[in-house]
Symmetry: C2
Subunit: 153 residues, 2 copies
DNA sequence: GTTGAAAAAACAGAGGA
DNA sequence: TCCTCTGTTTTTTCAAC
């Protein structure tokens, strides 16, 4: 993993459908060389997939909420959430509430309905998302830049 | 937006680097027809981008946390977060705490450092993410399936 | 939406620093 | 080991229908 790999990751994170040849043009390499690096990054599990981002409002999904949940039936609750299409993200967290869920629905009615279906697993509170100033903002750069060695300070 | 469009969205969400021709093979259409549908979905803003998913642990980012924040300096705080590489997601939420941040760092020390830099904007509490059973699980399907009309119940 | 030809990109192998 | 070069295959693009 050198500077070039980080640059590739950054560019693919920005646009995963960019042709390998153009990637090569940007970083100053031929297409097969870039492709080989990408192949290795995939093999090593650094790149885990390529996904299209889809506008939720355009799909009629106008309600996003976060549910903080306290349960003792962890395995069953995880399975329940996995099979609920409303739940897009599930995190185990520290604190009294041991799970946080991100819920995406068309209306607030659906959110309430989901919340009620959760009742049997424990207790919770819900935070409605009002706006998202930004999401998935990843800054991909080498841990220690070669242009700023520690001993140069 | 018909059934075919939803199928295209679903497949591109799964793998955004799939060739248009293979997409066509799956849904029973020629490559130019699929491409034209994808172009329209992009134009309409239904597809907002194509992104490579990158393993955070492989980049040495081993700490993820959620910070619930209360501030009165909203504009300044948004700008501060936007420019902080640790902050990957920022949500305005209902409740006493008006923002929730997702923070990704290499170590917990960096998380603490970030938290202290936030001090001037308001008060907060932090939840450490322990595990993520799943993330970005989007179920893309038409609002009303043609095979299950309301009047058939 | 389909067909078909031209352009571009991806792929696979040989060879060089 | 990592890259370039080159020929072949696949995909994309862009007409006309």
């Amino acid at each position: 993993m050198d500077q070039v790999d980080y640059k590739i990751l950054s560019l693919l994170h920005e646009n995963s459908r960019i042709p390998m040849a153009e990637l090569g043009r940007i970083i100053g390499m031929t297409q097969p060389a870039v492709k080989e690096r990408v192949r290795k990054l995939e093999e090593q599990g650094v790149i885990t997939g390529y996904h299209a981002a889809i506008s939720l409002p355009k799909l009629g999904k106008n309600t996003t909420a976060f549910v903080m949940f306290r349960t003792k039936k962890c395995a069953a609750f995880i399975e329940f959430c996995r099979q609920s299409p409303e739940v897009t993200d599930m995190y185990r967290i520290s604190g009294e509430y041991n799970y946080m869920l991100k819920i995406v629905t068309e209306t607030t009615e659906e959110l309430v309905a989901f919340s009620e279906r959760c009742g049997e697993f424990g207790y919770s509170y819900t935070l409605i998302m009002l706006t998202a100033p930004f999401e998935h903002k990843m800054t991909i750069e080498p841990p220690i830049a070669e242009t700023a060695e520690p001993w140069s300070n």
